[in-house]
């Protein structure tokens, strides 16, 4: 019968029409309601599909990406970024500019001096995040950014890009957890390998070291008077007891400590008290002492913040 097909079709639109009354917000309910939104945008939802933006907003997923941001650990002066430049090179529209910082002598330092992202060019592809070896650049989720001045507001420099690691952990919790787990596993593996190595080296060198120690002792008698002793406890990991042990073996200044090998320090500690080695890890001490000797207290303190009992973090 002519018209039957049309009636069949109209039954579908009629069902949608009725559904929109049965399943949707009732007139006496609050006008903008996020619970309502979740119900109706669910996979088995019925009725209206449209939402009242901006009063109602869709939930964005954890993986959502928009414009990159840079993650720092504790202070904004200490970003994870090492200015290696992979993100700037892989970026398909080339919207990242990175200037590498230099130290006092003009040598490149693993830190960005300038970092700019042109958000008007960025195509939100997420490659920078994907290929960053240091988990330093991540995708921000702020996507509503109307502005009256593109030059000022859409061109991001370090001030605008840097965010604390907690912010990142909040935006992408599962990514953050996965990265932290991977990092812990890597550190654990590294530590175990180092322990094995040092144990083997210690056994091997035990004989030779004994002889060398005897020779050194003889030498130490002839050595010139050591200069004014430094406060060795300023080195992270050295307490009064270890400081005493080092003094007893003739190491009293930062310069001397900096010039002493890690194995030699271990040996000194072992001779003084075998229990000391269980508590302390001297692997960073010579480098710390070097910084202290050259008077770079700021750098030393920054580093020490990341160290735990003198162990590399």
């Amino acid at each position: 019968m002519f018209g039957l097909g049309m009636l069949k079709g109209l039954s579908v639109t009629m069902r949608h029409f009725i559904d929109s009354y049965l399943y949707d917000r009732k007139p006496w309910e609050p006008r903008y309601n996020s619970e309502w939104l979740e119900k109706h945008q669910a996979i088995d939802g019925k009725g209206f599909f449209t939402i009242q933006y901006p009063e109602e907003k869709r939930k964005i997923t954890e993986t959502f990406r928009f414009i990159p941001m840079l993650v720092y650990e504790e202070t904004a002066g200490d970003p994870r970024c090492t200015a290696c430049g992979i993100c700037a090179r892989v970026c398909p529209p080339q919207c990242i500019w990175i200037q590498r910082a230099t130290d006092a002598r003009g040598r490149p330092k693993a830190q960005p001096k300038g970092f700019w992202i042109d958000a008007t060019i960025c195509m939100s592809c997420g490659y920078c995040t994907e290929f960053c070896p240091f988990d330093a650049i991540k995708m921000n989720q702020v996507h509503e950014m109307p502005t009256v001045d593109r030059d000022r507001d859409m061109f991001y420099d370090l001030d605008k890009l840097l965010v604390p690691v907690e912010y990142y952990a909040e935006l992408h919790p599962s990514d953050y957890e996965a990265e932290e787990a991977a990092r812990r596993a890597k550190e654990e593996a590294k530590r175990q390998a180092a322990e094995k190595r040092s144990a083997a080296a210690a056994a091997k060198k035990a004989e030779a070291a004994k002889k060398a120690a005897e020779a050194k002792e003889a030498e130490a008698d002839k050595a010139v008077e050591p200069s004014e002793p430094d406060d060795l406890t300023r080195i992270e990991g050295i307490g009064p007891k270890i400081s005493g042990a080092l003094h007893a073996s003739g190491i009293t200044t930062f310069a001397q400590l900096a010039g002493t090998g890690v194995d030699r320090i271990k040996q000194i500690l072992e001779e003084a008290d075998p229990n000391l080695l269980k508590l302390a890890d001297p692997s960073t001490w010579p480098r710390q002492a070097k910084l202290a000797d050259s008077g770079k207290w700021d750098a030393l303190e920054r580093w020490q913040e990341r160290l735990k009992g003198g162990r590399g973090a």
């Binding site: 002519f2 018209g3 039957l4 097909g5 049309m6 069949k8 079709g9 039954s11 579908v12 639109t13 949608h16 945008q41 996979i43 088995d44 599909f49 964005i60 997923t61 954890e62 993986t63 959502f64 990406r65 200015a83 430049g85 992979i86 700037a88 090179r89 892989v90 970026c91 398909p92 080339q94 990242i96 500019w97 990175i98 200037q99 590498r100 490149p108 300038g114 700019w116 042109d118 008007t120 060019i121 195509m123 939100s124 592809c125 997420g126 490659y127 994907e130 290929f131 995708m139 593109r150 030059d151 000022r152 061109f155």
Partner: protein, 588 residues
């Protein structure tokens, strides 16, 4: 029949033996490509079409090797026993000043648009072409941009990454991108063009009808007149920025001249500048209705060059994402088709609601709804959770229900049937001669689906049918899309059932600048809209040497005039809708 290029070469040598005065048709063999003598190419093409069954020219493009140009052709067969890999042919043109090749339009009408594109981009003239005009750029444009020695106005460096970004760039000033762009530095004006506004003269009008005047058509007792009508470029039913110059006799269409290129950004030049990896997010901007499948086509093409294996779990994810895209694309295409028919909003918005659920899945898996950037060489970007898979199954079940609802809503509608039955019907033979591919070709009765005839990824392991219809009219095109969406659901259910419980999603180490071994390849996939192909040439570096997209919408549009002539003006809009074009892909 196993494909054997050597046998074909031998047959061609037999048919076109060289004499002392002239060489044989096949002058050389370049890897997997037969190099033909330029003058004999129409004869060889006719022979291949009529005697050997290779009657389907799908891809035609060119490449610039600095000392010579090459035009490449990919011929396939519609014969059931000859489907599979086609014959890759090429022609070398040493003359860069005025390169010239005989046109194939008389043999394969589908070569029309692609030859014009080659003329536009490379400046290769096709002798005997009925309308050798630019197609993506405007008449009067200076230069042929895909030539290696042509540089665009804000040209910075031959290849990315740019040196000005790292390690010691100047702080970028001024800060806004368009002020930084040095428009003035490299601008090329058309010949005889004076940039002084006082001296400005409009460009001469281009006759877009190509001088074709059709005699008066008898429409009863009405006195009619021939008029030219511009539809677009901003008409809401033109699927983007598209202009049709329609010749009308009364209300009957006598000629259609598509004017395209309004969205042209030279995707291919950008592609040759990018890293191999950098092109993946750009491909989504081609057909923005089905971004996942564009990713798919590109990574399959590059993997053909590198020979990289794909992790099993990633293969399943690729299929799931690809088929979700296809189902949604077909539902949307039907919605748009009805929009054009005057069923203004209902089917289209029903389609969009379904799409939202699929986009939710995409967002969670990839991080973005539209510009997904999900496929990687040898794998995919992110793994999915079990919860995602559960919801994916729910969405697939919902899609299956909604396709039924679409059928109830539309299939038996008498108004639709009377508008669509018999309109724009075309045999598959004629469609194949125009290079038409995808649901259009199958709606006319030819079961030609690249997932079956030249399988890629793991499609071979799935059990699915290629639905076909008979007449290729508007109604069959609609039913074809619905049937294909159902087959996608079928594939999705199988993929979800067999989805590997664990495993890697990436083979090898993912590199940000992989090197691709030197070689050239034409690789094609069955995009929801038709045959999406990539012609890639690598010189062994980190950037493509030649990057060409064989866009299904662009080639299908070539048949628009043949499909529309003789129909009514109101129907020509629907015919455009039934081809299902996305201008981002047509204009590239």
């Amino acid at each position: 029949m196993a494909f054997d290029l050597g046998a074909i070469e031998a047959q061609l040598n037999e048919a076109f033996p060289g004499t002392e005065d002239s060489p044989g048709a096949v002058v050389d063999r370049d890897g997997g490509w037969l190099v033909l003598d330029a003058d004999q190419i129409p004869a060889v093409a006719t022979h291949l079409r009529d005697e050997m069954g290779y009657d389907y020219l799908t891809h035609l493009s060119a490449s610039d090797y600095r000392d010579h140009l090459e035009v490449v052709y990919n011929l396939y067969s519609t014969q059931p026993d000859q489907t599979g890999p086609g014959i890759p042919l090429k022609v070398r043109i040493p003359d860069r000043a005025d390169p010239c090749v005989p046109s194939l339009v008389s043999v394969f009408p589908g070569a029309n648009f692609q030859e014009r594109e080659v003329w536009d981009m490379f400046g290769v003239r096709f002798e005997g072409h009925p309308n050798m005009k630019r197609i993506l750029l405007w008449e009067g444009f200076e230069g042929h941009p895909m030539r290696k020695d042509w540089h665009e106005p804000y040209f910075e460096q031959e290849q990315k990454p740019f040196k000005s970004r790292w390690p010691n760039p100047e702080p970028p000033t001024p800060r806004s991108a368009e002020q930084r762009v040095r428009w003035r530095a490299n601008v090329q004006y058309p010949k005889n063009f004076d940039p002084d506004p006082e001296q400005w003269q409009p460009m001469p009008e281009v006759d877009v009808t190509n001088g074709v005047i059709v005699d008066k058509i008898d429409v009863g007792r009405l006195d009619t007149d021939r008029i030219l009508l511009n539809i677009g470029p901003q008409h809401p039913s033109t699927h983007g920025v598209f202009r049709m110059v329609v010749g009308l006799q009364g209300e009957t269409v006598t000629s259609v001249y598509p004017v395209i290129g309004h969205l042209h950004r030279n995707h291919e030049k950008i592609g040759e500048r990018n890293l191999w990896t950098g092109n993946i997010p750009y491909t989504e901007r081609l057909d923005y209705i089905s971004p996942m499948y564009n990713n798919f086509g590109y990574v399959v093409a590059v993997e053909k060059l590198t020979g990289q294996e794909v992790a099993e779990r990633a293969e399943y994810l690729r299929i799931i994402m690809g088929e979700l895209t296809r189902a949604v694309n077909h539902i949307l295409a039907v919605g748009f088709l009805f929009n054009e028919l005057g069923a203004m909003m209902t089917p289209m918005l029903y389609g969009f609601a379904e799409r939202e659920h699929v986009l939710d899945l995409f967002e969670e898996a990839s991080g973005a709804r539209l510009m997904v950037n999900y496929y990687r060489f040898g794998g995919v970007a992110r793994d999915v959770s079990d919860d995602w898979l559960k919801r994916c199954r729910q969405v697939v079940d919902r899609l299956a229900r909604k396709i039924d609802e679409f059928e109830t809503l539309l299939t038996d509608n008498e108004i639709f049937i009377s508008r669509a039955r018999g309109v724009s019907a075309m045999s598959w033979q004629e469609m194949a001669s125009y290079g038409v591919s995808g649901p259009l070709l199958r709606s006319a009765g030819l079961a030609y689906d690249i997932r079956k005839v030249e399988p890629y990824s793991i499609y071979e392991s799935f059990d699915f049918d290629i639905p076909t219809h008979e007449t290729g009219d508007l109604y069959d095109r609609y039913r074809q899309r619905i049937a294909e969406a159902r087959e996608s659901i079928n594939i999705l259910l199988q993929a979800l059932d067999r989805f590997p419980a664990s495993g890697s999603i990436q083979t090898g180490k993912k590199s940000w600048n992989p090197k691709v071994p030197a070689g050239e390849v034409y690789s094609r996939v069955e995009h929801p809209k038709g045959e999406l192909g990539w012609y890639l040439v690598s010189d062994g570096g980190t950037n493509p040497y030649r990057y060409h997209v064989r866009s299904p919408c662009f080639v299908n549009l070539g048949a628009l005039e043949a499909m529309s002539v003789g129909t009514l003006l109101a129907d020509s809009i629907v015919i455009l809708g039934s081809i299902d074009t996305t201008m981002g892909e047509v204009d590239r």
